[in-house]
């Protein structure tokens, strides 16, 4: 039980049904859809949404614009690849290891969390470029531009997940766990503190909050989550190249969050679906992909940052209003405030 019965909670009542429906659909999908390619794309969407949710925590909750998440995504991917191939560790350990190594690497960013706004953004971008250069140049470790090949599939307790359907469940499962985790912290002391430092850092300091420490915590969490996603990615596509982890990847992740709606977890997932899914399902768009996304980014900034999540919520509210008006109401419904 939390102390945060905010107006949004009323929304959650309705979206609880939507969420349940979505979850049910995701579980049932592999049985309905025989095309393994489609499942593969959904896996990629799930993986991307994990990184996007991490950025959402940074940007939407604590207000820190980071355009360097691809660095931790890459660190996680290569770490997991190394742990499974060179050290022969089982997949679950490699997954965890990837997250931990990425989180530790993010401690290098702790001094940067002192910065704010665009300065922070540029510093994270610089960091991401440095990591990319290391990945590209240290061939003995990463295979450099030749790539890292022959990464084994994910395997649980010795059972190799050969069918894309099984890895689909793993990827979507991890994404669901990350989502639930972030939802849980919203109404907690930690969640309140993080939102406070976004809304007004000075007021937060006046309440005794250690702003830089909290900002750093968010960075570490986001990095851990990106590392997990990197590991899942490595074992899904089983081949890594430095070009997968350039600053363009970081910007793609930002696009996912912005398109989906800054501040909305579900938006991060929607944004990931659009950014990853659209090019796969609309092959023609291929070359023009980034052009379109750039334009959408500008348009979203011009016309309201609620993004897809806001559009869905408004639609949902209108639909809900319509439904309420059409259904007869029981007598004496009273919304208690506290």
């Amino acid at each position: 039980m939390t102390i945060s019965p905010d107006p949004a909670a009323a929304r959650i009542g309705a979206t609880r049904w939507v969420t349940l429906l979505a979850v049910a659909a995701l579980i049932v999908l592999p049985w309905l859809e025989a095309d393994r390619f489609v499942l593969h794309v959904f896996s990629l969407i799930a993986i991307a949404s994990i990184v996007a949710m991490g950025l959402q925590l940074l940007l939407g909750c604590s207000g820190q614009l980071s355009i360097g998440q691809a660095a931790f995504y890459g660190i996680g991917a290569y770490t997991s690849a190394l742990l499974t191939t060179k050290l022969g560790l089982p997949f679950p350990l490699a997954l965890l290891g990837a997250g931990i190594v990425a989180a530790v690497a993010s401690l290098l960013m702790v001094p940067i969390t002192r910065l704010t706004g665009a300065y922070l953004a540029v510093a994270t971008l610089g960091f991401s470029i440095i990591v990319y250069l290391v990945i590209k140049n240290e061939e003995w470790l990463t295979g450099g531009s030749y790539g890292f090949i022959s990464i084994p599939r994910a395997a649980l307790f010795g059972f190799v997940l050969r069918d894309p359907m099984y890895s689909y469940y793993v990827n979507v499962g991890v994404a669901a766990i990350v989502y639930l985790t972030f939802v849980r912290i919203q109404g907690s002391r930690f969640g309140r503190a993080v939102n406070a430092i976004r809304e007004d850092p000075d007021a937060a300091r006046a309440c005794g909050l250690r702003v830089t420490l909290l900002k750093s915590e968010c960075f570490v969490i986001a990095a851990f989550v990106a590392g997990l996603a990197g590991s899942l990615y490595a074992h899904e596509v089983r081949y890594l190249a430095p070009n997968d982890f350039t600053f363009w990847k970081s910007i793609e992740i930002l696009i996912m969050v912005v398109i989906g709606g800054v501040g909305s977890l579900a938006g991060a997932i929607l944004g990931a679906a659009v950014v990853v899914g659209l090019p796969e399902f609309l092959r023609g768009i291929g070359d023009y992909r980034m052009l379109v996304f750039g334009a959408i980014l500008i348009a979203t900034m011009l016309f309201g940052e609620g993004g897809l999540a806001a559009i869905c919520t408004t639609l949902g509210r209108r639909l809900g209003g319509l439904v309420t008006r059409l259904t007869p109401k029981p007598a004496g419904t009273n919304e208690s405030v506290q």
């Binding site: 614009l65 355009i67 001094p111 940067i112 002192r114 910065l115 706004g117 665009a118 300065y119 953004a121 540029v122 510093a123 971008l125 610089g126 960091f127 470029i129 440095i130 250069l133 590209k136 140049n137 600053f247 910007i251 930002l254 912005v258 070359d287 023009y288 980034m290 052009l291 996304f293 750039g294 334009a295 959408i296 980014l297 500008i298 900034m301 011009l302 940052e305």
Partner: protein, 298 residues
């Protein structure tokens, strides 16, 4: 590695200053826009790239075009594009009183738009500039300088000097400075805010366009050249002191020298990393840049 011969030193020095001039021009744009609008214009590097591309295209169409005109084409096209960015997107965002982070995100979007538009129009292969300069080296008292680097430095200094004259001596220039310091007061004094903002972007674009031609002729032009160079120019502007015009010029040259001389000690694969590390170091240790340091000493 090892000790530097005298001529090698001169080569590095000249090369460093020349590329530094390029950084200075782009950094100037950052500084001017920052002063006027408080935003970091992520698409600044793309203005440089588009200037290079347009200049190159003009050379394809008219191979006999003299250097001055090529530079002019670059400057004018980038200037126009910059003004369009301002009038159609940035001004609307400011009018809506959108939070600053959103405007900056929009400039990121603009950058992506420009890069990909350029890739579609001009392709993804690096494009060489035809020979614009004489090939035999100039000699100044025993020191040999390539004409290309020489003229680039001369042009850059001329442009920056012209900018300073414009800002200090003309009505528009003075009005622009006033708007940068206090938009409301400037408006009360009769300055047309919209026009001044447009001028600011136009000039920043023109600087970047000139830089694009110079950089393109030194190396080559390709659709992504603006991104990393823009980032480095931002480092240079921050090094000098963000928001300071003198700082941008100083920071650019200094950064060019640092980057060029560091290739002596470091593998060229990590050359770009120098800039990034320097950036993070400056932001953490000396955020107000060298100019800020100088002002504090007074």
């Amino acid at each position: 590695m090892g000790s530097l011969g005298a001529s090698q030193f001169v080569d590095l020095l000249v090369g460093g200053i020349a590329v530094g001039c390029v950084y200075s021009l782009v950094a100037l744009g950052f500084a001017m826009i920052m002063r006027a609008t408080s935003i970091i214009h992520f698409a600044q590097g793309e203005l440089m790239m588009l200037g290079a591309m347009c200049g190159l295209t003009s050379l394809w169409l008219l191979p006999v075009l003299p250097l001055i005109l090529v530079v002019a084409v670059g400057m004018v096209s980038s200037g126009i594009i910059a003004v369009m960015m301002e009038l159609f997107v940035y001004r609307t965002l400011r009018r809506r009183r959108v939070p600053i982070m959103n405007i900056i995100t929009a400039t990121v979007g603009m950058s992506i738009l420009c890069i990909n538009a350029a890739r579609i129009i001009w392709g993804s292969e690096p494009l060489r500039f035809p020979e614009l300069f004489a090939t035999t080296a100039y000699e100044f008292g025993g020191v040999r300088i390539s004409p290309q680097l020489f003229w680039i430095m001369v042009m850059a200094v001329a442009i920056m000097g012209g900018l300073q004259l414009f800002l200090k001596l003309t009505r528009s220039g003075i009005a622009m400075q006033a708007v940068a310091q206090d938009p409301e007061a400037a408006q009360l004094m009769g300055a047309n805010l919209t026009r001044m903002m447009a001028y600011t972007f136009a000039i920043s674009g023109m600087m970047a366009g000139a830089a694009g031609i110079m950089l393109g002729s030194m190396f080559f032009a390709f659709f992504e050249m603006g991104f990393i160079t823009g980032l480095k120019a931002f480092v240079a502007a921050t090094l000098g002191g963000l928001g300071s015009i003198a700082g941008a010029m100083l920071g650019g040259i200094l950064f060019g020298l640092i980057e060029t001389f560091s290739t002596v000690f470091l593998s060229s694969a990590y050359k770009d990393a120098i800039g990034m590390i320097l950036l993070i170091a400056i932001l953490l240790v000396l955020p107000s840049g060298l100019v800020g340091l100088w002002q504090r000493r007074r």
